[in-house]
């Protein structure tokens, strides 16, 4: 079963995560106009319930960007942000002074979040496609601001037909503190027929 991955397979998955995250980090550095540091991805095989725990519990409200992947490796990719991160991303890229994604959010801000997610995810997915030689085509981003369990289960449904476990590729990215406010952290999930992976990006003070 899934629990019995060989070392070779583990290394290959970690490398796939590394390449995808590396590309995404480059895109992020360009968008943020700042240096981005990235750690070597960590590989975990965990039960569905623990996937929710990684996001702070099934009931935590998150901003989820979902992409359907069409082509040789059909599946689902998630880019999950906390409410605060989404708010500051919307403000950063749309120029809106006030943006609250829970209180009747301004469409321009929502659109900015989706575009940010789109660029990061496309960078990640196209790196995977180049590396594996698979044809992968992400859909336009779909957004939902709701409970983590409710949004993630939409992606788990597909792999749950074949498995009770998910593969998580966990990466941390850091934008070294420049001046302004605290830590921003968001995980990206990649779900495919064969598993699920995430990179956990941390960026500080932009």
């Amino acid at each position: 079963m899934m629990k019995k991955l060989t070392n070779m397979q583990r290394d290959a998955l970690r490398e796939i995560g590394n390449i995808g995250s590396g590309n995404a980090a480059t895109s992020m550095a360009k968008m943020m106009q700042n240096k981005v540091e990235m750690a070597v991805p960590d590989l975990k095989i965990i039960a569905f319930e623990e996937v929710m725990d990684m996001l702070g519990g099934a009931e935590t409200t998150v901003v989820a960007n979902m992409f359907r992947i069409n082509g040789n490796a059909p599946g689902t990719v998630f880019l999950i942000m906390s409410l605060e991160e989404a708010d500051s991303i919307a403000q950063h890229f749309s120029g809106l002074e006030l943006f609250d994604c829970q209180d009747d959010p301004e469409p321009l801000g929502v659109s900015a979040i989706q575009e940010f997610a789109n660029i990061l995810t496309s960078a990640y997915v196209s790196a995977l496609a180049d590396f594996t030689g698979l044809h992968m085509q992400p859909s336009v981003p779909l957004i939902s601001i709701d409970m983590a369990g409710a949004v993630i289960s939409q992606g788990l449904v597909e792999i749950s037909q074949a498995n009770d476990y998910a593969i998580i590729i966990d990466t941390v990215m850091n934008v070294p503190a420049k001046k302004r406010h605290g830590t921003v952290k968001w995980p990206v999930f990649t779900a495919s027929r064969s598993g699920l992976s995430t990179k956990n990006i941390q960026c500080t003070g932009y």
């Binding site: 569905f48 709701d146 369990g149 949004v151 289960s153």
Partner: protein, 165 residues
């Protein structure tokens, strides 16, 4: 306000039983469906968090059977009866089955919520268990908590607040 209330927590693709004064809850239902089966006189209730409609979709053996509407409801009914409920007195309340992402092309995967709801209703009918209340569909996640003493099902959503069915 001094009494300690025990809440039985049910995870995704899981099922459990609660006896009053315990309550039973499951969090973050999206396209999944929460099925409560209860005997109001015996103050016992079972809750299943169903992910998929049909165990015929099973692609491998030895999978978690609590994931599928048909097999989970069979197990739930057996378990709640073994814990003191009477088959003839069983009633059900259901919640969930939302579509979390709005998409132009509604592929089978995206339509999983409504399919789960249909499958749950079908399987409850097999067991002749009436559905006394339901809150299904829509596009928001739900957290539900059932009180076997009153038979109330509390539903919490992020955008539309709380309600009781």
């Amino acid at each position: 306000m001094n009494s300690i209330k025990t809440v039985v927590k049910v995870g995704i693709a899981d099922l459990k039983i609660a006896h009053s004064p315990e309550t039973i809850r499951t969090t973050g239902l999206g396209s999944c469906v929460g099925v409560v089966v209860y005997d109001l006189q015996k103050h016992v209730a079972g809750l299943a968090h169903v992910m998929l409609p049909d165990s015929q979709m099973l692609k491998k053996p030895n999978m978690n059977m609590m994931k599928y509407a048909d097999s989970a409801i069979d197990m739930l009914v057996n378990k709640v009866i073994s814990e003191g409920a009477r088959l003839s007195a069983l009633q059900a309340k259901i919640a969930g089955g939302a579509q979390m992402f709005q998409m132009a092309s509604s592929s089978e995967v995206m339509r999983i919520g409504p399919r789960n709801v249909e499958a749950v209703k079908r399987q409850l009918k097999e067991h002749h268990i009436p559905v006394t209340a339901s809150d299904v569909g829509g596009n928001c996640g739900r957290t539900i908590e059932f009180d076997p003493l009153s038979g109330d099902l509390y539903i919490r959503t992020v955008s539309k607040g709380e309600k009781v069915i």
